[in-house]
Structure formats: C-alpha cells, structure tokens
C-alpha cells in the first residue's frame, strides 16, 4: 500500500499519511476552497490542487514539498473566441481530470475540463494548450452534452504505459474516445455501451461513462462505471460488455477501481438509481468482482447499514495493493486493509469528498 492519500474536498486539500500503524492528517491546504481534484504525479512527487473558487474561477497550484508551500500556475484557458456552442463562450468551468504523460514524456501532463476541452502541457504544467483536434471533433457541438455538470466534461484520462501516446478519455456525456498519436486524431469507442436516457440508444455519442479506468496489469482491459451499468472491455475499448448486476446492487454508481495486480478484480460503490442518488436501501456497501465481472460480492462490515445517505463520487474510490479508501458526499472517509472485506472509519466530519488518490 502506498502510504499517502490525497483528498480533494469541498473545503480544501487534505493529505493523510499512514505511519506508526495509523492514518493521520499530514497536510491541510486551501482551507475553505473547493478542490475538484487533488493529484500526485507519481513521477516527480509533485502535488497538484485543482481549485474551483466560487468567485474567482478555476485555479491550479502545485507543491514540490508535500503541501508546505504552493505555487500558482496558469490554469488551462480556452483560446479567445472559442465557443461551447453557438453564442456560448468557452471558459474553463471546472478541472475534472488530471494525468501525467508517462515515463517517456517527463514534462507532459493532461487535464480534462468542463466544458469538454482536453488540455496538454509539455512543460511540466507551466502552461497548458487546448487539444484542438478533440475540441474540433465533428461530434462535439451537437453530440456532446452535460451529464453531472451543465456542460460536457472530461473526467477520465487513461494513458497506456506501453505506448504513452495512446490515451483513452471518458466524457460525460459523449462516451469514450481513443487517440494513438497523443491527441492528433481520435476514434470513438462506444460500441456495446447503452444510453437509455437518449431517444436513440444506439447513437454515435452521448454516452455517460461516469469514470473510465484501465487494469494496471493489462491496459487493454478497461473498466467503466457507467450511468447505465458497469462495462468492461478486453480489447482496449473496441467492444464493451455490461458486467453489472441487473438487479443490483452492483449496477448504478459513479466510482470504480481495479486491482494493481489482477485485471479481473475491481470494486464499485453502488448507489440508488439516477432517480434519487442516495445509498442503496439506506446502507453503504462496496462490491467486488474477482472474475472480470461475472459475479459480484457486496461487503458491508464496518460500513453504515441504516439511515445512510452517502454516495461516492467518481474520483473518490481508490485502491493500492490490499488497501482501499473512499470518501463520500456527506464527508465520511473509510479505509479497508483487506481488499474491501472489512472497513474502518477514518473520519465522519469531513467536507464533501470529490477525489481520493493513493500516493507515495
């Protein structure tokens, strides 16, 4: 297990550290400000805080000393005159994903935003440029729309460690897109997904993958917790199969994480259907599959089983070795040392948790 966990919360950036056999808060930064993503770049140890100031806009800060000091860098910005749709100017409304470019591209970083722009930095985050090929994709203006946010948003950026110019992204609502040339060209990878909320469920775009992740041991195996179920691909997104439980609880939700050492083992945090977005039957559980989604087990030991309203946002469930951690919409933080079978409460009084990431 990596010994640090970074939380992005509605009221700040919080780092927890495991030492002397217990979790303790190591750092609190940006107290009072919403942090949409708290991100650690595993290559450098740099921490990033993506801020969503209610008044002052989206800001980006980085720290090279574990949060003791921070430096503000220019947040991704849309070029002058760009529009989301006719007559609606494009501005960065939210940073919803961050990923490093991999070990062969030391200075490369990716950022996904609402309203649907992907940004790339080739100078370690000193500046970010809009990936125009995706922004100008012929499907964007008519075939993408808001889901979870008012405008389309990129919440998932999955860099293939075998070829770091190959990247899958997840967009709500548009679906999964793949590039094999670091963003110069894009293919739509929505075959097999469902979009029950669309008049045409077989549309080219408009799908709602709540989060997209790859199996570390086999990056061709992709998983997504979708608005319409849990989907898995064994061919890098060319075909998707619904592997959720039709009658739940592993069906609707936002978060998913895959084991470091087993491409068939994954966890989801079920929620009630999109009608209520509450805990299923007032109780929290984490579901795990050990066989690529053929079957799921629900684990509840240590989690609240009555009067519970918590759900888990898309970036707020993480795994590292045998350990799992998740934060909830009502500010609870839970830790499992044994692959989700038993849970401990770390805190009941946090702000709403937006992101959870294990780090070194």
């Amino acid at each position: 297990m990596q010994p640090t966990v970074l939380l992005g919360t509605r009221k700040g950036f919080i780092a927890w550290r495991f030492s002397n056999n217990r979790w303790q808060v190591e750092n609190l930064s940006f107290e009072g400000s919403p942090v949409s993503i708290a991100y650690a770049d595993a290559r450098t140890g740099t921490w990033w805080a993506c801020l969503d100031h209610g008044h002052w806009g989206v800001k980006l800060h980085r720290s090279n000393d574990r949060g003791n000091t921070w430096e503000e860098v220019a947040a991704p910005a849309y070029p002058e005159g760009e529009e989301i749709k006719e007559g609606i100017p494009a501005t960065t409304r939210y940073i919803w994903a961050m990923a490093n470019g991999g070990k062969n591209f030391h200075s490369r970083l990716w950022i996904g935003t609402d309203p649907g722009g992907l940004f790339m930095s080739e100078d370690a985050g000193n500046s970010f440029q809009l990936v125009e090929s995706l922004w100008n994709h012929p499907t964007r203006k008519e075939g993408w729309f808001g889901g979870g946010r008012d405008q389309p948003g990129i919440h998932s950026i999955v860099v293939d460690p075998r070829n770091e110019n190959r990247i899958h992204i997840g967009i709500s609502c548009a679906g999964v897109f793949e590039t094999i040339d670091a963003g110069k060209t894009w293919e739509i990878r929505n075959k097999g997904m469902r979009a029950e909320f669309l008049p045409n469920p077989d549309a080219e775009t408009g799908y709602d993958p709540h989060i997209l992740v790859a199996a570390p041991t086999n990056p061709d195996i992709l998983w997504q917790q979708n608005h319409c179920g849990i989907f898995r691909s064994i061919d890098a997104g060319r075909n998707w199969m619904d592997v959720g439980q039709a009658d739940g609880p592993a069906n609707f939700g936002f978060a998913i994480t895959v084991a470091d050492d087993n491409a068939d083992q994954a966890w989801v945090a079920p929620a009630n259907s999109d009608m209520t977005r509450t805990a299923v039957k007032g109780a929290l559980c984490i579901c795990r599959t050990d066989d690529g989604g053929k079957s799921w087990k629900a684990f509840r030991n240590g989690l609240p089983q009555e009067n519970c309203f918590d759900i888990v946002y898309r970036h707020a469930l993480a795994s590292s070795g045998d350990a799992l951690m998740f934060g909830t919409t009502t500010g609870n933080l839970f830790f499992s040392p044994d692959r989700g079978e038993n849970w401990q409460v770390l805190n009941n009084y946090l702000p709403m948790v937006y992101s959870v990431q294990f780090a070194g």
């Binding site: 008044h55 806009g57 220019a74 849309y78």
Partner: protein
C-alpha cells in the same frame, strides 16, 4: 485619477493589494494594469474571454456596471471603482 478599491477577499490571494490610483481609460485597461503589478489577478476577476466572472461585481461610484461582457462602462477622473465578490455560495 480614478481610484480602484478591492474586496478584502482578494487580498487573501494578493497580499499587497491596496487602493490604487489609475490613469487607465477603461475597466479592461485597469485590469491589465493591475495584472502587471499583481501577476494573475486579472484571471480572478474576468474569465479567459474577458467577461466579468459570474460571482464578481464591479461598482463605479456606487453603481453596478451594465456591461459584464466587454467591460465598456465609462467612468470619470474622480470615480471610485470597487471590485467586490458577490455574496453567494456556502
């Protein structure tokens, strides 16, 4: 010269911020001038397309500006320009 005043909330990010006399002729020029002294401050007040952020207000002599998109409201040499956050959120 007109005087520009800032909400205390901005001083959290730009600690040297204080009432400033300006010879600039437009609100946009004022923001550019301020950005030279306090790099990045412009992006706290307007978005990348130059429009006033949704939850930020600018008052000229006690009057809320009309043009939030291109910031063309006029002011005089003895005007007081106040940049303030809207009261919103929780």
């Amino acid at each position: 010269m007109a005087t520009v005043k800032f909400t205390y909330a901005l001083k959290k990010f730009f600690s040297g911020l204080k009432d400033t006399a300006t010879g600039a002729g437009t609100l946009s020029e004022i923001l550019n001038e301020m950005d030279t002294s306090f790099p990045g401050i412009r992006s706290y007040i307007v978005d990348e397309q130059g429009s006033l952020r949704k939850h930020v207000n600018i008052f000229i002599d006690g009057r809320l500006i009309n043009d939030r998109i291109t910031l063309r409201d006029s002011f005089s040499e003895d005007s007081e320009i106040y940049i303030i956050q809207a009261l919103s959120g929780g």
